[in-house]
Point group: C2
Chain length 730, copies 2
Amino acid sequence: MLNERNWIVTEKHFDLKRQNHAETIFTIGNGYLGTRGAHEERYPGEERTTFIHGVFDDVPIVFTELVNAPDWLDLTLLLGGELFSLSEGEILTYQRQLDLRNGLLTRSVEWRSPRGVRWQLTFERFASLANPHLLCQRVRATAFENVTLEVRSTLSGETDNLNYKHWDWLGQGFQRNSAWLHLRTRSSGIELGVAARLSVNGGGNLQQTGWDTRNAPTLVTTTEMKSGEAVEIEKITAFYTSRETNDPQGAVRRALETLPKRAWEGLWESHARAWQREWEACDVLIEGDDHAHLAVRFSLFQLLAAAPRQDERVSIGAKALSGYGYRGHVFWDTEIFMLPFFTYTRPEVARNLLSYRYHTLEGARKKARENGYKGAQFAWESASTGEEVTPTWVPHPTDRTKLIRIWTGDIQIHISADVCYAIWQYWQATGDDDFMIHRGAEIFLEVARFWASRAEWNAENGSYEFTDVIGPDEYHDHVDNNAYTNALARWQLLTALKVLAWLEGRNPDKAAELRRLLELDENELNRWREIGEKIYWKQDAASGLIEQFEGYFQRRQIDLRSLEPRMQSIQSLLGIEGANDANILKQPDVVMLAYVLPELFDENSLRANYEYYNARTDHTFGSSLGPAIHAIIACRIGKPDEAYEHFMRAALADLEDVRGNAHDGIHAASAGGIWQAVVFGFGGLRFDPEGPKPFPGLPRHWKRLVFRIKYRGQFYEYDLRNSPAGGDEG
Amino acid sequence: MLNERNWIVTEKHFDLKRQNHAETIFTIGNGYLGTRGAHEERYPGEERTTFIHGVFDDVPIVFTELVNAPDWLDLTLLLGGELFSLSEGEILTYQRQLDLRNGLLTRSVEWRSPRGVRWQLTFERFASLANPHLLCQRVRATAFENVTLEVRSTLSGETDNLNYKHWDWLGQGFQRNSAWLHLRTRSSGIELGVAARLSVNGGGNLQQTGWDTRNAPTLVTTTEMKSGEAVEIEKITAFYTSRETNDPQGAVRRALETLPKRAWEGLWESHARAWQREWEACDVLIEGDDHAHLAVRFSLFQLLAAAPRQDERVSIGAKALSGYGYRGHVFWDTEIFMLPFFTYTRPEVARNLLSYRYHTLEGARKKARENGYKGAQFAWESASTGEEVTPTWVPHPTDRTKLIRIWTGDIQIHISADVCYAIWQYWQATGDDDFMIHRGAEIFLEVARFWASRAEWNAENGSYEFTDVIGPDEYHDHVDNNAYTNALARWQLLTALKVLAWLEGRNPDKAAELRRLLELDENELNRWREIGEKIYWKQDAASGLIEQFEGYFQRRQIDLRSLEPRMQSIQSLLGIEGANDANILKQPDVVMLAYVLPELFDENSLRANYEYYNARTDHTFGSSLGPAIHAIIACRIGKPDEAYEHFMRAALADLEDVRGNAHDGIHAASAGGIWQAVVFGFGGLRFDPEGPKPFPGLPRHWKRLVFRIKYRGQFYEYDLRNSPAGGDEG
């Protein structure tokens, strides 16, 4: 790791009003599961969730959602007969810290009970990265009177997702000082085993018992404490599901049986080592800006905590595993925003994430078929099968007899190209031909086929068009010839032909197999080229401006400055229709395009489009995906300080809740965008035939920027110092 | 009670495949709550519900639903360490019986455990009618070995409604051998207290303990049984909600504290006496047809079990308190189908049910206002406030991206007249002027005002019309001038004027108050008369036929016989649009009208309309409301045996599940219709100025029919014998 500073996220006060935001911030995870930072004891309004990758179940309206697993945090402390709760008694000192180096969450409290007993309590937890099926908790308690300590730990199968229950009970039991519970999701039939072991060390006259309450087996231990004596409670929980084993409840029991009597230390060591390896591959150092430095590391921590290392049939949802937002559904956020971080630092994870798209190709084929197209049309929102799970209708926020139609699942089609873009980028960065041969190529061909079937010939202007789409900018739906969509479609169609040509040379058998399997003939390939080359594309020769979609320039012009100060999005202010009619953007598709396909822009047009769209974008309450990209392009046109403003808007989305919605879960796309802004924006990294090369342009107050990447099997570290001129136009 | 036979509903086999149907059949209740006949021990696929009148909470799609209360049935028996479950071991004998005289549900089982221990077990339960906050259970257990018996009883706050949770935990605790739990509904904020006391009598070395598991306090008792020794388990549960008291959890604790050590016998006596009084007012005797006799009593039992005796702010939903069907929502089913039974046997209950409409008048005013009308438009589906809670959209059964628009909440407007009709009938039958003065009149005036604002003048044919409505026959929506709706609107407008005129004489102050409150002037009253007298009405002079709605005669003619044998509804066969285009009816509005307003029909037109529409009605899988009404009209035209066929179709809807949907809950409207078919159909009861008079026409094989009613404060009993001619045309 690059230095010792800026690793700790701290909460200094217990504040129930912002508990849901804090739960998001203090989410920990190990790529198998993620758990929000709820407290061991319960408080009204809390959202205590544990989401396990791939454990989806049916639900009305949003079709499917990650299921809230049994709560492994639960610890009820009866201190001298009084229930420990910070809502009662008096808090003398309070501090909670998340150590980003290793995901250790620690809470230290001095508390005076309602009856006046003073207690010192330290709670610790981590989700083992070395063995992701194990979750560890430790509590150290000291009382300043002679009292009885009673500790209860319940495994409850009654957890719900915002009132909705997903679990059926199958069985439960006890063995020695552990309890186990066996459950199954109600629709998807995924079985889950969970077991917990509770040990109390210290005190006297230790008594252990188990309450065999149905669907809530409970371990209870009491001990007699002397004044000033420290007692240590250790709880180890194990999870397995039928996604990993045929016998999840046997697996969790065995996982606990093999542990030593006191397990924390051993588990901690392997866990901390595993995290250290992660950071060695990807840590970033920023000198001169502790605030930004911590925020960057927080973003990377959250991405690492959600990264599936053992599973290539899952991907990272828009809120990772950290909250109910978007219900665990996977968007283009993963491929375009999060994936580059993994591709360039942890390519094994990137491969898993891209393999998810391969395994869900059948769902994408189904979607294309059902919409009357050919090939594969990836779901705008994807879950376990790749079928479209975007809600089609959602309740109106105020009029309960009305519904709002959500169109993204129907016509936000750019995602199919985005998936291919990420595959291409991964392949370029890693040289993983095996992936391209056995998985990537098939995706490329099927997506090209989709684009060809979706394109419409317009004889009048002699071009192929994509009408009735939504671009990344979701304020404007049902538009024609969205610049981002059209450019990506063109890129995808022509690149698919390149991929096939490469495959013919590299692995002719596989190429032949795909041609046979997909019934591809020369006519169709020629048609892809014909369409790709003639996709509608328009750019003002003089200004270099690209119109975001046909007719955008004619939308009602609104001066954003006239609406300041503003505490809600433009869509909230103007309504869905009002925002659609206006020229303000949720995020600017042309700026996005300039990042994704820079070869389409020369220096002038890059600057012109940035300036034009930057002034017309709802940066503060529009899409959280935009600011990091703005930061990158601002760097490229030599405005690192303006870039910094965009960058910090992204970097603080979660830690300081600048958008007001961090309680729903972290902004995982923004987190990925932050890494890209550091590396490709301020670091100015580019890939030439000779390899990667930085063209740094640091914000004025940054003294130093260090980051690491892996490119074609080689590690690179860049140690960049500020050049007073700022900006580094390439 | 009129005889000793035909009181017992028996189940002879344990069959998990039909457990949900059996749960409906074995529902017990006491007018405060209703509990489905789930077993004490749990089985997969069970629907164990307890619904308490008026305890509604918000839920997506259907807006609000009766909340499944904590399960009071729960008893886990560990017999010599083996869990008692009929899915394991061997069932030697099995019988379950519901005694309709008193709602005692008894299950007797001889069971051999997997380890070979033979057990004799008898389970009994009743929901006290004398003190409806108390629920009683008793188990007698005998083992034919020396073994330990462990009994566990959990009060769980985790119950859900078809996966959806409504309860928040507030507190729990123990006192002596009872446990209590304090909960609150998540949206509506209704608090609930529940407490249970567990006593075990017999055996030796009795040990009692409590498991304080969060949201699931559990009582545990063990005893050592000798071979052949009988042990008796008694469990008494108490429920109170914040709808009855400010301190529901205190109330339940006090309710148990005041009970004697062994409470069953005392509670049983007062309970059985209360039921006896109920039956003395309403029992029916049928000689010569045990099958029909039991079915009639079953229907009356279910109505009595759901009848609110202490609460005038609730009504009986379409499935009473016996299942999830229609989520406890209240329809016209109550006023037109169930209410006559109460009006003529238990007028106090009828008054409560009608008072519910008075208390929800504000919701009906709101609905009228929001739809652009005046006065009061009663909700098609009504819950706690009277606001419309019909789902506007429901998910498509097969295509999950589609929704189906439900129009009944918008345009099935006849219900507002039906409510008034039931008030009028109640007033005529009881002479309860007080109700009419203080509640009924205001409803009448507000509903008349609604009709007047809804009517449209058609200059072409010189009549007022009601266009774009749904009549009782829901296969046909968006129709104009539905015969039932128009006739009831006319009746309502003109009767409202009569009610006001009567009130001016009977209580001029109240009349003046209402005129002032509602800002009624002579112009408006004149307009009501004008509209009422000129509502569109058409009848073929030659045939006497009335067209169900404009254009009905032109709908596609389908011969129902050509579709036999048929195991689904016409709407399922033809689809929503297909059924709308065809002439087959879910239920015949004109026949319904002939029952409700017989004065509109002479003998010929009665016969003509019955024969015409009878042949075009989906009797088997259309509306369950139709058959009883068909039976009545068939009696009136002298066809008691044809009437009997319709009658039994209604009578067996639940007991023999002839429609295949009894698992959703009982057909409460049909149950009420059955009573009407007996009294007004076969009994031919009519009300002349001199009083009620029967014109019997019994089915051929009925030897004797006896029934009782109360009319204007007097009790009448009719003892009718079959006249061999059958039929008794009046």
